[in-house]
């Protein structure tokens, strides 16, 4: 009975994988992202970029699950980054203290330039 988040994964690069979201990041949406992220980590990807250009709305429960992914990434000395946030979602990430632990880029191009080194 919930509107489901759609995810597409681009794991063509060795180290870095991109997850693109489309829809609402609520509880289930966050869990779906985590599931995909852990699969990518298991496959050896140490850098993940979450492209939220298709996401116009989130809630703090969904984002709390993204914080779990950040924890996991810090454990394995990896990195989770975000791009293409709406101004409100970016503000929310700052309020939640997430921006200290994860880089935020304006778009995929800018993110890839910095991450793919």
């Amino acid at each position: 009975m919930t509107e489901s988040l759609k995810l597409t994964v681009d794991d063509a690069r060795d180290d870095l994988a991109v997850i693109r979201t489309d829809g609402y990041i609520n509880n289930q949406g966050g869990e779906e992202i985590a599931r995909v992220a852990y699969e990518l980590i298991d496959k050896g990807h140490k850098k993940l970029l979450l492209d939220l250009s298709g996401t116009k709305i989130v809630n703090s429960i969904g984002i709390s699950i993204l914080i779990e992914i950040i924890e996991k990434m810090l454990e394995i000395d990896g990195k989770l980054a975000f791009c293409s946030l709406t101004p409100t979602i970016e503000k929310t990430f700052h309020i939640m203290g997430l921006a200290q632990y994860a880089s935020i880029y304006p778009d995929e191009e800018a993110a890839l330039q910095e991450l793919a080194v």
Binding site: N26, I57, N59, S60, I70, T88, I89, I95, M96, L98
Partner: protein, 141 residues
């Protein structure tokens, strides 16, 4: 006069109905897209708090949208989210200067909702007792 009320059942994703109504109201008074987005996010947080924490026996949340200013010259939107639950336990309200977390090596996972509402709206007033919780939040045009 320009008030809209919405009563929602506590069901998954019903907060999106509240946020869409908020968006329509913001468009109605020609607020900027960014301000409307902030209102939508704050309404989602206030609504899911009532869903998740209120324990309200009627399993309903009432949301009241009030246009500030006059019909010809609206100056803002005041949104009141009310539940008839058990109220916010003492010590759970975020205090100014106390952002609710210690200098931890990681951001805390939960407990951000009320701070998000405070951060995104221009003013927020929370009244809560054993009869329920009312969050009044205002955004100016």
């Amino acid at each position: 006069m320009q008030d809209v009320t919405l009563t929602l059942p506590m069901l998954p994703d019903m907060e999106l109905t509240a946020s869409k109504t908020a968006s329509a109201m913001g468009e109605h008074i020609r607020m900027s897209r960014d301000k409307i987005d902030e209102i939508q996010m704050a309404v989602v947080e206030a609504t899911i708090n009532a869903f998740e924490h209120s324990g309200s026996p009627d399993r309903k949340v009432r949301i009241h949208f009030h246009v500030l200013g006059t019909e010809g010259d609206p100056t803002g939107l005041q949104i009141t989210v009310t539940d008839h639950g058990t109220g916010i336990p003492d010590g759970r309200l975020p205090m100014p200067g106390n952002d609710g977390r210690k200098s931890a090596p990681l951001p805390q996972k939960r407990g951000h909702g009320l701070r998000i509402i405070n951060g995104l709206m221009d003013s927020v007033d929370i009244r809560s007792d054993e009869q329920g919780t009312t969050v009044v939040m205002t955004k100016l045009c």
